[in-house]
């Protein structure tokens, strides 16, 4: 074989062998079931389907086909969650009634353990017992049609904004810590809200079972910080530097820096600028 013919042949062989080796792996992956779901998507994948008012919220009737097919739930039929729906025009009453129920029970059928924890949590109490429409149920954090794994980087990166929809002040103070700054810059190694506060069973700090109660907070920090101590855990995570109400000392220190920066930049800037200006005016930058 000539040298000229060798390289293409060699590469072609490598390519074919790779394709053969990869083929069985591809064939063994789960295939998306056709049937009910695809029948629903015939209408609901259309982008101009409009909106519907449910429970006082405006919801789009369009389901993102890609998001749905990429989600772990695309193995299920639509009716696994949207129980009772049939392939015809759905009445608003039907949808409203289903939504109120399914907001919680659609998930609990399979995710009973998570639901049990949620039921006992601060959020769960607000929704189940107080009838709160604002407090989050499953879908408010996890989404609905495009659910992705909560341990995926994309989900974790979205957590601060997710919690921040209600806890905006906590979000902004979190983003002012190294944890938050690293997250903003695309870091994946630092803690997000749920790493400290938990997820399904979030409880207020005053509750001894809370992950951030004085009994548990050191262990919570210790998940990442091996040598965490009670004093380490007394670090003020959610401190607003811009107000003395949050922490007087931190605010005083911040003000001290603002003062120093203001005074020194002004004096230093004036010194340099006037030096430059006089030098220019008196022709000191021209040298023969």
């Amino acid at each position: 074989m000539s040298t000229r013919g060798f390289l293409p042949t060699f590469l072609a062989t490598v390519f074919v062998l790779t394709a053969v080796a990869a083929a069985p792996a591809g064939a063994s992956t789960f295939t998306i079931p056709t049937g009910a779901s695809d029948r629903c998507l015939e209408c609901h994948a259309k982008p101009d389907l409009g909106t519907i008012e449910v429970n006082g919220e405006t919801k789009s009737l369009t389901v993102s086909e890609d998001g749905w097919h990429n989600s772990v739930h695309s193995r299920l039929d639509c009716t696994a969650c949207h129980a009772g729906f049939e392939a015809r025009d759905h009445t608003p009453e039907e949808t409203e009634g289903w939504y109120t129920q399914a907001k919680l029970t659609a998930c609990s059928d399979c995710h009973a353990g998570e639901f049990k924890m949620y039921d006992k949590s601060f959020h769960g109490d607000l929704v189940m017992n107080e009838g709160s429409k604002k407090a989050p149920a499953c879908g408010d954090c996890h989404g609905s049609h495009g659910i992705i794994s909560p341990s995926s980087p994309a989900f974790r990166a979205a957590v601060p904004d997710m919690c921040g929809r209600c806890h905006g002040d906590k979000r902004s103070t979190y983003l002012d810590t190294y944890h938050g700054k690293s997250q903003s810059l695309g870091g994946t190694s630092t803690a997000v809200c749920t790493d400290c506060h938990g997820s399904h069973m979030i409880l207020p700090q005053s509750n001894p079972a809370s992950t951030i109660s004085s009994q548990n907070v050191v262990a919570t920090c210790g998940k990442c910080h091996e040598n965490a101590s009670p004093r380490f855990a007394s670090f003020l995570v959610h401190v607003d530097r811009s107000t003395p109400k949050s922490s007087l000392w931190v605010w005083l220190m911040e003000m001290n820096h603002a003062f120093l920066i203001g005074v020194l930049f002004t004096l230093g800037g004036l010194h340099c600028f006037l030096y430059f200006y006089r030098g220019l005016k008196e022709g000191l930058y021209h040298r023969g």
Partner: protein
């Protein structure tokens, strides 16, 4: 009594051969050695590590800004930036330790006398110099001819500001690097203090020492423009120096220590090489100066409009 800074002598000067040979060489030693090789290397490493620290640290301070996120992506993400930042910090800490040792040697040689002419300790003359300059700046008096000793008032001010700053940055940086260890000895709020001071101190250092002070006096000052090269080749013609810093020159003549700091000028070939290096450094410095200045103006604008 010998001046403080002559406590440390340049190797080339200290290892001068015996009288007869030295006499013949004196003719060639026409340059005043402004900084020893040690001082120049420390300055070089501080310059490099400072730039790296700013470039890897500032995006963290402004993590909510699009430019910070893009820049962080460009330098390989926040984790690698953190590693580079800590590595550069180790270079700077090494420089600080070396300088501490240098001061200790000076203190031993001068028997604890760290003030006086030619030292970094401010004197009445500095106050007079500053007053004369301010008078010129505001147009009240003609341009003064400063009677400078080894260090001008603006160099002394910078030295003390930078010294205080680097110690604050080292201590707070160490706390942020090992917060768990810090909390063995100190209350947790110290970690909050460290964060505020490291972040504020960084802006202060970058803005004051670099944008509004050091770059200006080393590069843009009329007498130095485009660059004061003494920190890089160590020497400048004796007449020039005697004109620029008359007090140190006169003092050395009076004390008979001038010979210690006389060096031969660089050979033409080395001068060519160094010229290339100077222009690279000058170009980089002016570029960084422009970038940092725009940045500080942006920060100031944001800060003022935040009220």
């Amino acid at each position: 009594m010998a001046s403080v800074d002559s406590g440390i002598r340049d190797k080339s000067a200290a290892a001068e051969p015996q009288a007869g040979v030295a006499q013949a060489a004196v003719g060639a030693r026409t340059h005043f050695r402004r900084f020893t090789a040690f001082q120049r290397w420390v300055h070089f490493f501080i310059m490099i590590s400072f730039s790296i620290l700013v470039l890897t640290g500032m995006p963290l301070k402004y993590s909510d800004q699009a430019w910070a996120q893009r820049w962080m992506g460009f330098i390989g993400g926040v984790q690698s930036a953190g590693m580079i930042h800590r590595f550069a910090a180790m270079i700077m800490v090494t420089c600080v330790i070396c300088m501490m040792g240098y001061f200790a040697v000076i203190l031993i040689r001068t028997k604890g006398r760290f003030w006086g002419p030619g030292t970094m300790v401010p004197s009445r003359q500095d106050y007079r110099d500053l007053k004369a300059m301010v008078g010129w700046f505001v147009g009240a008096t003609p341009r003064p001819k400063l009677e400078l000793d080894r260090y001008a008032y603006y160099e002394k001010g910078e030295f003390w500001a930078a010294s205080a700053g680097v110690i604050i940055m080292c201590v707070t940086g160490a706390i942020l690097w090992y917060p768990e260890v810090a909390a063995w000895y100190l209350p947790g709020i110290v970690i909050n203090f460290a964060l505020v001071n490291h972040s504020g101190g960084a802006l202060l250092a970058m803005g004051f020492v670099v944008v509004f002070w050091h770059f200006f006096h080393a590069h843009l000052r009329p007498e130095a423009f485009p660059m004061d090269k003494a920190m890089f080749n160590g020497g400048l013609p004796l007449e020039e120096y005697a004109h620029e810093r008359p007090l140190e020159y006169e003092r050395r003549v009076r004390e008979g220590t001038l010979d210690e700091v006389l060096v031969a000028p660089l050979s033409p070939r080395r001068l060519t090489v160094e010229n290339v290096v100077w222009w690279i450094i000058t170009g980089a410095a002016l570029f960084l100066w422009a970038v940092f200045t725009i940045f500080v103006v942006w920060v100031t604008y944001n800060w003022l409009t935040s009220f």
